[in-house]
């Protein structure tokens, strides 16, 4: 409960953009030379460490080193190049195959050749929503660790709206299902926000608890009331066609309108945070809640609203998967988006554009990793390891500076500055 005595480091990115500056310009201004260099080096170092893990866990490498040092090196290189080659081809597609497909006139082959890169966009979409949710929390001084639970509840709400309402035209049904998803997430974010504002209960613990409550709740719903009657698996009924996010191509391409919705929402979050009075209050409370209080801002309202909005964004992440990809709700539909979102919000400096870029990176890695598992036999979980490394280096830029002999910047860029459990 003590007042935080440590000097609160000020992020250079907290500068208030002046009127008339564009989206890109503000973002570019936020990037001092190192603040773009460090994320890039963090990603690079993460990939290098990933390569080391791949080498250390490949049997051929040990066989090679038993043979001779050269053979060992060759086997190591082989392991790395096979793995990363598979990663990048299955994430972005193979250029030669694309060219060959375009020259031929087999429409299915063209779709197949271009599918990997579109599939990466499909994988990035929930990351954008989830990353925006965490970023909005960070900007408002809240650590929303509950994105995973909020996206589950959002998915439940939207799936229910998707299959229970029938006979509506798309123009009504789809927005309704999207709104239902946002409402579910917002509700799950509202509770810890309200508890924080009213009782001082720390949102980190409460959102962790809410995550598990959400898992149990969805488990019960999918095994009971929301279970598809003709199925043995915990799966909800399929949503109505009128609630589906429109897709643009035929099979196997799953790319759908959710991606554009995510970009639109990212822009809206940017506009809200940096161009409106409300957004200004959010950011002021996030930067210094005491100053905000003295300036007459209502901390209670901002805290509750920020958590609810963050939850609504998280809810959209789950909604997107239900209405755009799976067309139903299954128990294990989330690949830990909520937790990876913390990493990518930090990587994107909690700026909507940064979040979009980081989400594209994570989505690409995630979708490439599936191919890597199939062709190179590297378990998909290596991606989580990479993400942990990247997050670690972003959180502790001093490590990267030491590794690459970078100079300490004049203004120390703060990561998130944490408040203790007890801080009201």
């Amino acid at each position: 409960m003590a007042e935080p005595k440590q000097p609160v480091t000020k992020t250079p990115s907290e500068k208030e953009p002046e009127n008339g500056k564009g989206f890109m310009r503000v973002f570019l201004e936020e990037l001092t030379s190192q603040s773009i260099l460090i994320p890039i080096l963090a990603i690079f170092t993460g990939l290098v460490l990933g390569a080391i893990i791949i080498v250390l866990t490949t049997e051929d490498v040990y066989a090679g080193f038993d043979d001779s040092f050269g053979a060992g090196l060759a086997a190591s290189w082989n392991a790395i190049s096979t793995a990363y080659n598979a990663l990048f081809t299955s994430a972005l597609g193979s250029p030669s195959r694309m060219i060959a497909a375009v020259q031929g006139d087999d429409a299915l082959e063209i779709r197949r050749a271009f599918n990997p890169i579109l599939e990466s966009l499909v994988a990035s979409t929930p990351y954008i929503f989830a990353g925006l949710a965490v970023a909005l929390g960070f900007r408002s001084g809240l650590f929303n660790i509950g994105v995973e639970g909020q996206l589950f509840i959002g998915a439940i709400f939207s799936a229910y709206a998707g299959y229970a309402l029938v006979g509506l035209p798309t123009i009504i049904h789809l927005p309704l299902a999207l709104l239902a998803g946002m409402l579910g997430g917002a509700l799950w974010g509202f509770i810890p926000g309200w508890l924080k504002a009213k009782t001082g209960g720390h949102e980190v613990i409460n959102t962790i608890m809410m995550n598990y409550i959400a898992f149990r709740l969805s488990e019960w719903l999918l095994m009971g009331p929301m279970k598809r009657p003709d199925s043995f698996n915990p799966v909800s009924p399929a949503i109505a066609d009128t609630a589906k996010l429109p897709s643009f191509f035929e099979t196997p391409i799953r790319f759908h309108a959710g991606f554009f919705l995510a970009l639109l929402v990212a822009w809206l979050v940017y506009w809200f945070l940096f161009k409106t009075k409300w957004g200004f209050e959010f950011r002021t409370v996030g930067a210094n809640r005491h100053a905000a209080r003295y300036a007459g801002m209502n901390i209670t309202v901002v805290t509750v609203a920020a958590m609810a909005l963050s939850g609504a964004l998280a809810g959209l992440a789950g909604t997107n998967e239900v209405l755009g990809v799976n067309y139903n709700l299954a128990l294990a539909f989330s690949a830990g988006y909520g937790f990876d979102a913390i990493a990518l919000a930090l990587l994107g400096k909690s700026h909507p554009l940064g979040v979009v870029l980081a989400a594209l990176l994570f989505g690409t890695l995630r979708s490439g990793a599936l191919g890597m598992q199939l062709t190179a036999g590297i378990p998909v979980d290596i991606i989580s390891v990479l993400q942990a490394f990247i997050l670690a280096f972003i959180a502790a830029p001093a490590i990267i500076r030491t590794l690459y002999r970078l100079r300490q910047p004049a203004v120390e860029e703060g990561g998130v500055v944490l408040s203790g459990w007890g801080e009201g």
Binding site: Q6, T57, H202, G415, L418
Partner: protein, 423 residues
């Protein structure tokens, strides 16, 4: 903030009239719930049988048979009586004990109702509860060590998971369970060292640092499991520690089978529980550790090395978590499964908060959560139409209620989560 601090200090000595009334109403609510939920649902004349023995003792210890309806009504009356007493003059410092008592009445009447006209083995239930409480309590003690020194540790889950895996791997390769335990402890130590360097040296947000370790642990253990453990079964068959009865004590009726016929982890948990309690509250070491968590600047002024103390606390906490992780693989199922800790580390965190950052409080919370866990698996057998998921939610909801200060606010270490900058 100042008023909140004042409240916290005053709550130690006296209970405010409002809180006294609120808790009195809670007791009455419990009484009404017992009567409405269980009493009215139980037909008169039914008998509830509680088994009190397992194995060889079954011949000598008779089961407890109770008339269901009468028992429930008596418990409801008793709860109402306690509630009336609380409203009339209050129990002062014993309020929390009364709360525990009434909660106990509620649980017992629930069991009486659930097993009406049937039989429920109480000793078996409590024994399972105890073993389910082991990893939760060890995780909570890991958290207590870290947070009492002012470092928030949400990476308990990751440390446990990694400990479970490395314990399995080493025990399978060396064919020695004890080496497996050692490996698990060292893994916890290593991850905790990372957490310490990040949060103490680099002053990374401790939640971010913990998240890094959690993501890394889930990724790395699943990677190794998919790449090796699932393909080579000989790497994933460490065996388990067997339960062994303690001579004499194990023969005591009722208590013996519950407490003194367990495997190594249960006895070790009790040992660490007493050790940590003693060390924290009765040694100079503990006083220093707690002072660093309450007011690092003052501790520093008195010549305590804040950084070294925090490093030590976090690393000891990591060892505790790693040991707890070994329970999952070596103390329970005898193999490693992906994400097998299934959030137990986070329940440990919850138990720590619920238990007010005290070892014995955390153990009590661990027992309660372990009880909810073991009860849900038995309700299905008794044919009780309560979805098991709702019982599994109890720990999380209970923690949120405690955190909200509905039944008294916890006294967390004052400098918890705040990096220390030496001037």
């Amino acid at each position: 903030m100042a008023t909140a601090t004042a409240n916290m200090i005053s709550e130690q000595t006296y209970v405010s009239p409002t809180r006294q009334r609120v808790i009195g109403l809670v007791f009455l609510g419990f009484a009404a719930a017992i009567w409405v939920l269980f009493g009215r649902e139980t037909e008169p004349g039914l008998i509830t049988t509680f088994g009190l023995a397992v194995g060889a003792q079954a011949a000598s210890v008779d089961p407890l048979t109770l008339p269901s309806l009468a028992t429930i009504n008596i418990l409801a009356l008793a709860s109402a009586f306690v509630g009336a007493g609380q409203l009339a003059r209050g129990f002062g410092r014993r309020t929390n004990w009364m709360l525990a008592l009434v909660t106990g009445f509620f649980i017992f009447s629930f069991l009486t109702w659930a097993a009406a006209d049937k039989s429920l083995n109480l000793v078996g239930l409590l024994n399972t509860s105890l073993s389910r409480a082991v990893p939760i309590t060890l995780g909570a003690m890991s958290g207590i060590l870290c947070e009492r020194a002012g470092v928030v540790n949400i990476a308990i889950e990751g440390m446990m998971l990694f400990g479970a895996m490395s314990g399995t791997l080493v025990a399978s390769v060396t064919d020695s369970l004890w080496l497996g335990v050692l490996a698990a402890v060292l893994t916890g130590l290593l991850l905790a060292w990372v957490h310490a360097v990040f949060s103490i040296k680099y002053m990374v947000d401790q939640i971010v640092s913990g998240t890094v370790i959690n993501i890394f642990s889930v990724g790395m253990t699943s990677y190794i499991s998919a790449k090796f453990l699932q393909r080579y079964q000989e790497l994933n068959s460490p065996g388990t520690f067997r339960a062994f009865p303690i001579p004499v004590l194990g023969d005591i009726p009722i208590v013996g089978p519950i407490l003194f016929n367990n495997n190594m982890f249960v006895y070790a948990m009790f040992f660490f529980l007493f050790l940590l309690h003693f060390a924290l509250y009765y040694t100079r070491w503990g006083l220093r550790l707690r002072s660093v968590g309450e007011h690092p600047r003052a501790a520093d002024t008195l010549g305590i090395n804040v950084f070294r103390t925090r490093y030590m606390a976090v690393m000891l906490g990591g060892m505790m978590a790693g040991f707890g992780g070994a329970f999952f693989s070596l103390g329970s199922v005898g193999r490693f499964d992906e994400v097998m800790t299934a959030g137990r580390g986070f329940i440990g965190l919850a138990a720590m908060i619920f238990g007010n950052w005290n070892p014995f409080g955390a153990f009590g919370a661990g027992l309660l959560f372990g009880f909810a866990d073991s009860l849900q698996s038995r309700l299905a057998i008794l044919g009780i139409p309560i979805p098991s998921q709702f019982l599994l939610m109890v720990p999380y909801i209970a923690t949120m209620v405690v955190l909200a200060g509905v039944v008294g606010r916890g006294e967390m270490p004052a400098a918890d989560g705040q990096p220390y900058v030496k001037e």
